[in-house]
Symmetry: C2
Subunit: 109 residues, 2 copies
DNA sequence: AATTTGCGCAACTAATAAGTTGCATATATA
DNA sequence: TATATATGCAACTTATTAGTTGCGCAAATT
């Protein structure tokens, strides 16, 4: 059995990404989320479980309702993972810049 | 049938992420990749297909070998998706800063 | 020309995951 | 206390996918 849900697996599903987009603006209950999507409450509940297990969302009970909040700190891990590639695309874009410079020089001739 | 592989789906697999990390440093052939992982060449070939279909990698034939290069521009799309949440975590961190300020003030008393 | 090597595609198996319905539990309301 | 509502968990079905083996094709080597 899986100890913990994988962060990348969590955002692979479009519905879960939609949930994240929603609650990044405002915390919502499972029922409120289910109303937004064309699926049963139980289906949404499963997505919530996945997002919760990898700590992308955080429950805050309020009476018999549970508001799920967006955990920005966890989302930042993607930002850190992306860091290893930033250098790559800067290099590739610099090469593009060089190419553009060459083309400019050719125009002058 | 799926028209095109999804970017998020592509990076959901740990082996594919490892491939991306490898070729971000240096372009590799399918065989060279397969040697790095404990799986058959065909399995790696499938991952290559997924990464290629969503344009995260780009083939450059060289004789009977094919070097796959990392496409940084495509990975940037993930960066752009993350952008919608950057504001959220800045807000949450600002709130943390405020809290820290409050705690500092309490120390002074 | 014959053989080896690099690669992709097809078929198959096993595991995973998204969705459903049904049920149990806890909180709020009448 | 009885009832309605909010939520999570379990069992099931179906679809997807990661891995395998086997095959065919094209390029390089002998």
């Amino acid at each position: 059995m899986k100890i913990k849900q994988d962060l990348f697996q969590a955002i692979a599903d479009p519905t879960r990404r939609a949930i994240l987009t929603l609650i990044a603006i405002q915390a919502l209950t499972p029922n409120a989320m289910a109303e937004k999507f064309d699926m049963t409450r139980q289906a949404v509940s499963k997505h919530i479980k996945v997002l919760h297990e990898c700590e992308l969302i955080r429950p805050e009970p309020s009476g018999r309702e549970i508001y799920y909040h967006f955990n920005a700190k966890k989302m930042q891990e993607f930002d850190h993972w992306l860091a290893q590639f930033r250098q790559s695309w800067e290099v590739q874009f610099n090469q593009l810049d060089k190419l553009l410079d060459i083309l400019k020089d050719q125009d002058k001739k």
